[in-house]
């Protein structure tokens, strides 16, 4: 193992910078799922939703960029399409789990397989075996801040989606804990019967939260394809949806901790990229690929976060259950 190359400042800075960028898709999905789960619904379908958002975003971005020639807005059109596609999947999830009261684990896993199948199918039909690519987003340095030594390069020289996502973390926290909207949503997740008899529309609130969460996951998928990798392939999310679900528990349903968890994931992702290129054949880079999953397990092992979960999480609400 080329340790000398690893433990230099340059390396550490570069993986942190890359880690921040790589964290965005997962962080978006985690934020969305936090909102959903705070209202009492567990949406396990994130892996499928991210794929659908990723393909929708990629397809629209390709169309706008190559067909319409509008290179500048193409990525934004793609990101928007990703959100819309995600929201539609969220609508499906909401109908299944909130109105029809299907088991949430079942609905989630089915949505994953649906998302995987649909995107694989649609991608082949739409693009055949031609590997199309899109431009993506260039980094936008923040004037002034980007010049700070070390930190400037790490934090303030990213593409716009990084900054937007960071703002979203703050917005998510604010909305959940400092507004009445958030109070109502959390009430639905803690005690839907109490919320109902207080005059809140539990069904409407849950529909919203599931759709918003799925829209954010779709956006995350679109960021992955349009901004980060500039392409789409089958299974491109490679388990990020599942990691997002784990990180929701890790973050104790708090947006700020979600940021930290996603960063951890991003950094380990960056590390294993680098090490793969540096290392020899014999090196077990798979062990590095395992890192996010092992890390999540360790974190879960160390502390039982059961008591922090929204009380009514995963339980379908039946009016006036006798």
């Amino acid at each position: 193992m080329p340790w000398e190359q690893l433990l230099t400042w340059t390396f550490l800075i570069s993986i942190t910078t890359a880690g921040i960028r790589l964290a965005v898709p997962v962080l978006l999905a985690v934020l969305g799922e936090i909102i959903t789960e705070r209202s009492g619904v567990m949406n396990l379908g994130l892996e499928g939703i991210m794929l659908v958002g990723g393909l929708a975003g990629f397809t629209v971005a390709v169309g706008v960029e190559h067909q319409a020639g509008l290179v500048a807005i193409a990525p934004w059109a793609g990101l928007l399409a990703g959100m819309v596609a995600g929201a539609l999947m969220g609508l499906l999830m909401a109908v299944l789990t909130v109105s029809l009261r299907t088991d949430q684990v079942v609905a989630g896993v089915t949505l994953v397989l649906l998302g995987q199948g649909l995107t694989a199918f649609a991608y082949r039909r739409l693009f055949g075996s031609v590997g199309k690519r899109v431009q993506g987003l260039d980094p936008v340095p923040i004037p002034g801040l980007a010049k700070i030594p070390v930190l400037g390069e790490m934090l303030f020289n990213h593409n716009l989606m990084v900054y937007i996502t960071a703002l979203l973390v703050a917005l998510c926290w604010f909305m959940l804990f400092r507004t009445n909207w958030g109070l109502n949503l959390r009430a639905v997740g803690e005690n839907p019967a109490a919320a109902d008899t207080s005059g809140l529309n539990v069904v409407r609130i849950r529909y919203f939260s599931v759709m918003i969460g799925a829209a954010l996951a779709g956006l995350g998928g679109a960021v992955l394809t349009v901004v980060q990798l500039n392409l789409f392939t089958e299974g491109i999310t490679a388990g990020r949806g599942w990691i997002a679900i784990a990180l929701v528990v890790f973050s104790r349903w708090q947006p700020v901790w979600a940021l930290i968890g996603a960063l951890l994931f991003g950094i380990t992702d960056a590390i294993q990229f680098r090490i793969q290129t540096l290392g020899s054949q014999e090196m077990p880079y798979e062990l590095l690929l395992m890192l996010p999953y092992v890390l999540t397990l360790f974190v879960l092992l160390l502390g039982s976060h059961r008591d922090e979960a929204p009380k009514a999480l995963g339980v379908p609400y039946v009016k006036g259950e006798r």
């Binding site: 009430a187 109490a194 919320a195 109902d196």
Partner: protein, 508 residues
């Protein structure tokens, strides 16, 4: 005894006429007529399952009636959701509180009532407003406290304040004194009288005759989903009300069980020594509890719900670990659980399967690793006949049986397994008078046959009529143990509220 001012106005606040409500297999409400006047406290009286809660759930917008009309101040209304009912001035305090435990009192009160979707009112301002409102009605609360830290009585006050915050003109209380000590109940009644004097119309759902007689102006009695009649309390007796409730002549005099002072054998059937048990929140639920139950006696543990009964029950059956102390059972323990659907019966399984639930891997029900359905079925058929369990067949799902018959399944299973000790917790909860009589008869018969019975019940009447000795449980400790013959109801009530006189007196 508190007196009530019985002047009422003639203004009809609520009129419900011809209300029908059906659930699968059950006519919860049939052609119900009910009216409520301004400033009155009106009782809705009936046994469990008579339809009282259903009717009020319709009034507060949780359900819609299948037929019938509701008028509010003379104008017809139709509530499609609790929101609409709340907006119209109907406030309900449910039997099981509808509070978000993790939120503060203030957050619970304003839930669903905020005009602003985004910005929240600054907490200091909000708390001041709510404190003023509470003071106006004489309710003692602290808006900043998280609800899970409050006592039951305090939580109930929050519920009432919630309704008042929403400018309720009608306040519905569902069995409000079930979870209160006698002293807290008195405080509640004073509050209700204050509200009534200010013009609020109050519906008081109850099955407790004495309370209804002393507090309410009028009573509407429901039985089996139908209105039996509405009377002015001044003009009737407890006896009459009881008969309206049950539909037949009822003997209200409590039968004190005979053979009180049976000589005890030396060895206790059940012995609890220096028992310490923690609650789910890792607070002390049972503290240094000492109690002995001898064969051939019933020891009743009286107390208001929430003083450690559940934790004690779970510790004795081994479901909950005890931090310290000993639990000695001489022989086998039969358990009549306080919550039959979360401790005793599988609703998805058949009657026959539930009857063998605890012994399914023993012969004759199993042999060499396989079940023996014929043995299971014949066992079930015999028990159904012996205990007169009303069920279409032994293969029927237990979830389809009535509460009384489900309880009979538990009795059949527990009492036919060899046992020397019985732990009966809230054995007649949710049962009508007929089923309750069955339960009591069974327990007395078992006692006479030599079993040692520990009875835990929040119904003081039940404790008084069954027990040979009574222990009062308050905040996890036994305050006193007396033989029933020497028990004074008022004294017991005080003990249940925690009033101690010196050290615990233990009877041999």
């Amino acid at each position: 005894m508190v007196t009530t001012d019985r002047t009422t106005t003639q203004i009809r606040v609520v009129e419900m006429a011809g209300i029908d409500k059906q659930f699968p297999g059950v006519f919860a409400n049939q052609n119900i007529h009910f009216d409520l006047r301004e400033g009155e406290i009106h009782a809705l009286l009936g046994e469990n399952g008579a339809g009282k809660t259903t009717l009020m759930n319709i009034l507060c917008g949780l359900y819609e009636p299948d037929a019938g009309e509701i008028r509010l101040f003379g104008a017809p209304v139709r509530f499609r959701s609790p929101r609409e009912a709340i907006a119209a001035g109907i406030g309900m305090v449910h039997q099981h509180f509808m509070l978000v435990e993790r939120f503060t009192v203030a957050e619970n009160i304003i839930l669903g009532q905020t005009d602003q979707a985004i910005l929240r009112e600054p907490p200091a301002q909000l708390h001041r407003r709510l404190q003023a409102l509470a003071d106006h009605y004489g309710l003692k609360i602290n808006p900043a406290v998280p609800v899970w830290q409050l006592s039951v009585g305090e939580q109930q006050r929050v519920e009432i304040l919630k309704a008042l915050y929403r400018q309720a003109k009608v306040l519905i209380l569902d069995e409000p004194t079930a979870v209160l000590t006698p002293q807290e109940a008195d405080e509640l009644i004073v509050t209700l009288q204050t509200l009534a004097a200010q013009g609020t119309a109050i519906v008081f759902i109850s099955h407790k005759l004495r309370e209804v007689m002393s507090v309410c102006h009028r009573v509407t009695v429901l039985r089996d989903g139908q209105t039996v009649g509405t009377v002015v309390t001044q003009d009737c007796t407890e006896q009459q009300l009881a008969e309206m409730m049950v539909g037949r002549e009822v003997n209200l005099r409590r039968q004190l069980s005979s053979a009180h002072s049976k000589p005890h054998s030396a060895q206790p059937a059940l012995e609890l020594q220096h028992l310490h048990v923690l609650s789910d929140r890792h607070l002390s639920a049972i503290q240094n509890l000492n109690l002995a139950v001898y064969p051939g006696e019933i020891v009743g543990i009286a107390g208001v719900d929430g003083n450690g009964q559940r934790e004690l029950e779970e510790a004795i059956i081994g479901l909950r670990p005890s931090q310290q102390g000993n639990i000695r059972v001489q022989g086998k323990l039969a358990h009549i659980p306080s919550d039959r659907y979360s401790m005793g019966l599988l609703t998805d399984f058949s009657v026959a399967e539930n009857l063998v639930l605890k012994d399914v891997n023993q012969p004759p029900f199993s042999w060499r690793g396989f079940l023996r359905p014929p043995a299971i079925l014949s066992h079930a058929i015999a028990l159904v006949q012996q205990f007169l369990i009303r069920t279409p067949s032994v293969k029927t799902r237990v979830g389809k049986l009535s509460g009384g018959n489900a309880q009979k399944v538990i009795f059949a299973r527990e009492l036919t397994r060899a046992h020397q000790v019985i732990l009966a917790a809230q054995p007649s909860r949710g049962l009508d008078i007929g089923a309750t009589e069955f339960v009591h008869a069974q327990l007395l018969a078992c006692r006479d046959a030599g079993a040692g019975i520990l009875l835990i019940s929040t119904e003081l009447d039940e404790i008084l009529s069954l027990s040979d000795r009574i222990a009062v449980l308050y905040e996890g400790q036994i305050l006193e143990i007396v033989p029933t013959a020497q028990a004074d109801v008022n004294q017991l009530g005080l003990r249940m509220a925690g009033k101690q006189t010196g050290k615990q007196r233990e009877m041999p």
